[in-house]
Amino acid sequence: MTSPPIKTVITIDDEKIDQLLYKRIMERSGLIETVIPFRMAQDALDFLALEDRVTVDAVFVDINMPRMNGFEFLDIAAERFGSDFAKCVVVMLTTSLDPEDQARAEASETINKFLRKPLSIEDLQEVAQLVLNPT
């Protein structure tokens, strides 16, 4: 069996069950080797700041979360980690139906993809394409 095209992704979502379901679908897709979940954006920032951490290929981030929302997280991450963070594919994965959120995500240079929950295998295939063929 060939190894999955994507080595490591992090998921940031306060919903425990959603995290559990992401992990299952990501494992089932065979596209992703390791999933590291965070339920608070601050914890993800702390992880990204570690010097000896693994390379992150993609970030899946929710918008509405306690304390720090997805947009705030991305702003801080882009500022703090710069080009290093710019290398990974950023996917906004949300239940938000607010067209302003979508417009803001589309206008953002940090965000590569805006997806609505629930996450599907097809979504993951598209993300895999972005990871393998960065534009």
């Binding site: 919903e15 425990k16 069950i17 608070m40 509405n64 306690p66 304390r67």
Partner: protein
């Protein structure tokens, strides 16, 4: 046109001070005995006087004249000012009753506009004798007419905003009810599966519990949105509300939580105010249940409610203080925003609607709500409400 002249209180409606002030000002500033705001009713072919100064006899009572008998109709019909120095010499009035004896000789009619630009009538001033109107006088009349138009624009804006709030509230009610029915169906389906859950892997059995938990969260969310919806919309009639009574109801409603946590609640006598009982109860309920919820493990909640009357401001300051986990300074501004949560749902569950509702309820009562906390040792919410008039 979105609103009719009747909707806006401009036709067949009693005089109102905001318009009467302007006609009174017109008489004073223009030094004329008669001023009025005329509104053209095209259907009934008449001119209605929304406001009138100096009218006498039948006109004073009827407040209307058939079209054809007035100067005023010229203004909306031509959508232009009409300036008459001497009615007997004015070509536009030739052959009209304006040229009969006893009619005013000098007249200015300035258009009054709807927001979309349609002329609905005029602000008119007149005097019995011929008069050469100066540029300054004409400019003054034009400015006064502008004020009348502004009043109407404001009225349209208020009506529009009330209407859209009403629509918003109806929409929230409708969508909430529509969401409940598929949620109930799902719950029944899960209940059916649970009956035969032995046929599922332990993994999937776990998901059934998660599914039920998610559905009851959805129920709470819908209930909270519905309560919030009650705070949207034009102000309903306020009644006299005894806040002590409301607090007693809230405490009874939360008795289970109080017993469970071993909470003590001490309260000074709360005042009686003018307000919406449902909104004020929802506000008290949210503040009390927050104090019962955001507690440290093994520390029973202590809630202290104090009241200060402020005679200068003619209002009450009601403070609800607890010994809970507090709210960090940097989060204090956003806790009142809709859907803001500071904690993971499995640690402190919530919809993020409660404090948004409290703020809305306070503002609907011309009051305020503020939070004070050092971020660790308890939280104090202070609500200000006007005293019952």
């Amino acid at each position: 046109m979105k609103f009719t002249l009747q909707d806006l209180g401009l036709l067949d409606a009693p005089p109102e001070p905001d318009f009467d002030n302007l006609t009174q000002l017109a008489c004073d500033l223009m030094q004329v005995p008669v001023a009025h705001i005329s509104v053209l009713d095209r259907d009934k072919k008449r001119i209605f006087f929304k406001s009138q100064q100096g009218h006498t006899g039948d006109l004073l009572r009827s407040r209307e004249l058939p079209m054809g008998q007035t100067y005023c109709q010229q203004v909306p019909l031509k959508s232009a000012p009409l300036i008459v120095n001497d009615a007997r010499l004015h070509p536009a009035l030739k052959g009209t009753p304006a040229q009969t004896p006893d009619q005013p000789r000098a007249y200015i009619g300035m258009p009054v506009y709807m927001p979309a630009g349609q002329v609905i009538g005029g602000l008119c001033v007149m005097r019995p004798d011929p008069h050469e109107w100066s540029e300054a006088e004409i400019a003054r009349a034009s400015k006064l007419a502008g004020c009348v138009s502004d009043l109407i624009h404001l009225r349209v804006a208020i009506r529009t905003s009330e209407q859209s709030r009403r629509e918003q509230r109806d929409f929230v009610y409708a969508i909430s009810h529509d969401l409940k029915s598929p949620a109930n169906t799902l719950r029944m389906i899960i209940d059916e599966i649970i009956l035969e859950k032995d046929r599922l892997s332990p993994d999937l059995q776990g998901f059934l519990g998660n599914g039920l938990a998610a559905l009851s969260r959805m129920d709470t969310q819908i209930e909270d949105v519905l309560t919030y919806a009650h705070t949207i919309g034009p102000k309903q009639g306020f009644t006299t509300v005894d806040l002590s009574q409301l607090l007693a109801e809230v405490i009874a409603h939360r008795q289970g939580m109080i017993d469970e946590t071993g909470a003590t609640i001490t309260a000074e006598a709360l005042p009686t105010v003018k307000g919406d009982a449902i909104q004020l109860r929802a506000m008290l309920d949210n503040l009390i249940s927050n104090s019962l919820k955001f507690t440290r493990p093994d520390v029973p909640p202590r809630i202290t409610i104090t009241v200060r009357h402020d005679p200068e401001w003619r209002g009450h300051r009601i403070s609800i203080a607890d010994n809970g986990i507090g709210i960090p300074k940097q989060d204090q501004t956003k806790v009142f925003d809709m859907f803001t949560r500071l904690h993971l749902p499995d640690i402190y569950p919530g919809t993020g609607i409660g404090l948004a509702l409290c703020r809305r309820a306070a503002e609907n009562h011309n009051g305020t709500i503020a939070v004070a906390s050092d971020g660790t040792n308890g939280t104090t919410f202070t609500v200000t409400l006007a005293e019952a008039a």
